[in-house]
């Protein structure tokens, strides 16, 4: 290990070399690419697939691609999907059962080998989101073995944020814009008079050996300084903030706030926020039988707490009103997630704000709840 670099600089086209090196190791490389008016996550075959020269303009309920003169590859923030699309896929077969002519049943667990992914362009907020899903899906007594197998085989190439969007608030959630632990490689993009390049740091032995395999040069002080200042500057222009209070306590203390009625009047209960959230993990079971009645399959698919069916018991849905469903989602994400999993369920990526058709903003709701609580608190507690 002594001979492989722990940090280095690669040129603009070093990403192409990286993608090819990852593919040569048998990995399915997934990263950002432009499709249907957005930067989506899809399989990459080379550097040309990356969104060089594309940025995004984000607002609550609005997403627009914009061209950039500097040709940067990672000047966009979180898009419509997250890595859970690959690690925790929307629909997955769990097992199949067959009945033979004697009536004997055979059950077989799904045994498809997990793909060996390499994720290129994992943002610091999403790095944390993956760690949160690790805790949820593999950290308890009933682990999701399929998730674990995909996760253990996945290689993560993080990209630090230098261009946060107007809906980003990772600083409030303590997840970015610098990359935390968990990556194999971390990149920081620098575009200035000295050229278009990436500072690369290795977080694991496999990351270091990859870096050794692609054309690189020694990390020069100028690039190091430019990368560091770009990330520091990003922290200063977050588009959104959470109120600087204990959010868990805020959620616990505002369960009967009037604000929930207000947001319920705007909420479509369409489920988009949960589908785009990188930590929302809920699923439902789907049983399939065929026309012969001798073959059946159990599938699991994404479900949402905004679906009436989600809490349907014999007496009807437990959370029948939009009020109760939005409140459940927000208080779980920001509050009871701590009780259940020991952390916040929100990483500040802003996806739920952007992809809500009516632009409901979880930070705005939290601020409003904090104001309502303060207005009702006795003077000495303020």
């Amino acid at each position: 290990m002594a001979d492989v670099p722990r940090s280095a600089v690669i040129g603009r086209d070093g990403l192409d070399s990286l993608i090819r090196a990852l593919s040569a190791r048998g990995r399915t490389v997934v990263g950002p690419t432009v499709r249907d008016g957005a930067v989506v996550l899809a399989e990459l075959s080379g550097g040309d697939d990356l969104p060089y020269g594309w940025g995004v303009e984000l607002e609550a309920g609005r997403y627009r691609l914009v061209e950039r003169a500097d040709g940067a590859a990672f000047a966009h923030s979180a898009g419509p999907q997250s890595w859970k699309t690959f690690l925790h896929p929307q629909r997955e077969r769990q097992w199949t059962a067959d009945r033979d002519s004697d009536g004997a049943m055979t059950f077989s667990q799904e045994a498809t080998p997990a793909p060996s992914y390499a994720f290129l362009g994992v943002r610091p907020c999403d790095l944390r989101a993956i760690a949160i899903q690790d805790r949820v899906l593999t950290g308890g007594p009933h682990e999701d073995s399929n998730y674990r197998s995909r996760r253990e085989r996945a290689l993560l190439v993080a990209v630090e944020c230098t261009e946060p969007g107007a809906t980003c608030f990772c600083v409030s959630m303590g997840t970015g814009p610098a990359a935390g632990p968990g990556y194999d490689l971390a990149l920081t993009e620098v575009v200035d008079g000295a050229g278009h390049r990436f500072l690369v740091r290795a977080g694991t032995a496999e990351g270091a050996s990859l870096l050794d395999e692609i054309p690189h040069r020694t990390a020069d002080p100028g690039t190091r300084a430019a990368a560091e200042s770009a990330v520091t500057a990003a922290a200063d222009h977050m588009g959104r903030t959470m109120p600087p209070v204990d959010l868990q306590a805020l959620m616990r203390g505002t369960l009967s706030a009037e604000r929930w009625d207000d947001v319920a009047s705007r909420c479509l209960t369409c489920g988009n926020c949960t589908m785009v959230c990188p930590t929302c993990f809920c699923t439902t079971a789907e049983d399939i039988t065929d026309l012969t009645g001798d073959h059946s399959e159990r599938w699991r698919r994404w479900e949402s707490c905004f679906d009436l069916e989600f809490t349907h018991l014999p007496g009807g849905p437990v959370r029948a009103t939009p009020h109760s469903r939005y409140r459940q989602w927000a208080t779980h994400k920001l509050g009871t997630w701590y009780d259940q999993f020991g952390s916040s369920g929100c990483v500040g990526c802003g996806r739920c704000i952007v992809w809500c058709p009516v632009g409901i903003d979880i930070t705005e709701e939290a601020h409003a709840l904090a104001r309502e609580r303060d207005a009702h608190a006795p003077a000495e507690e303020r």
Binding site: D36, G37, A38, R64, S265, T269, N272, L291, R301, E309
Partner: protein, 274 residues
């Protein structure tokens, strides 16, 4: 015959010597598109014919078997006095009655008459209006007889139809989610046409089931499956206006195949009165 969790309302089952349940497919006021979806189950047709005895299906065979029938699929809306008598008969001879498609579940596009005077149409369309016996409104089957399950869509989705039949055969509840089309867009990875391009889309208020077909091709949802089980038009209509629809556009987009679905009809009437 397998257990019937919802409980049948009709008489003795119509199993044949092989123990296969009998299937009937009925047509009321409709375009036949949903019946064709049954025939469109090409790969499964042989297995289907092995699992059920197709007793009555005039679209496929003129040989009409005697009832009663275990499972009736009913296409079309009720629009004539004869329909009233016939749907009562279908209910009487059907152990399980499933309505298929927007006509049978909401009145169909022909329910546009519900928003006007049917007599005005008669005098314009027919040379001898006095020959025509019709009802003032086009109504769903459920307005006249108890229905065990409604399958939405214009037309219905082939996969959902097979799901209903296989669930029936296995004696389990069919998996027919009633949430919004947005769920299906996100699951299949379609970029939201409203958020990314400002395209008006009925997805957030429309019942899932089509697999979010139109947005996958860059179009807004047309609401073919009618309202979802959880709509908020007070918040939704301003979104259509923001994306360029005026009052007439809003009324028209809600008055297509599911014009008379109660939620769609209430909003289109309210918008029209603005």
């Amino acid at each position: 015959m397998t257990a019937d969790p919802a409980g049948g309302t009709a008489p003795a089952p119509g199993e044949d010597a092989d123990g296969r349940p009998s299937l009937a497919v009925w047509k009321f006021a409709s375009c036949d598109g949903c019946q064709l979806t049954v025939l469109d189950c090409e790969e499964e047709l042989v297995a289907l014919a092995g699992a059920v005895r197709v007793s009555y299906f005039l679209e496929a065979s003129t040989e009409a078997g005697e009832g009663p029938y275990d499972l009736s699929l009913v296409e079309g809306s009720v629009t004539t006095p004869q329909d009233l008598a016939r749907i009562a008969h279908v209910r009487r001879v059907s152990r399980r009655l499933v309505t298929i498609g927007a006509c049978a579940t909401a009145g169909g596009v022909q329910a546009l008459r519900n928003f006007a005077e049917v007599g005005d149409f008669l005098s314009v369309v027919y040379a001898r209006p006095d020959y025509i016996a019709t009802l003032a409104d086009s109504t769903p089957v459920s307005a006249h007889v108890p229905v065990d399950l409604e399958l939405r869509g214009c037309p219905i989705d082939r996969g959902q139809l097979l799901e209903v039949i296989t669930a029936y055969l296995a004696g389990r509840s069919p998996d027919v989610p009633r949430h919004s089309v947005c769920f299906e867009c996100k699951r299949r990875g379609t970029v939201c046409v409203t958020v990314a391009r400002g395209v008006p889309c009925l997805g957030p208020v429309t019942h899932a089931g089509c697999g979010a077909l139109c947005p996958a091709y860059g179009r807004g949802c047309y609401g073919c499956f009618g309202p979802s089980d959880s709509t908020n038009f007070g918040a939704f209509v301003p979104l259509l206006r923001r994306d360029g629809m005026d009052t007439l556009d809003v009324v028209r987009v809600l008055r297509t195949f599911n014009a008379a679905a109660p939620e769609f009809a209430a909003v289109s009437r309210r918008e029209e009165a603005r």
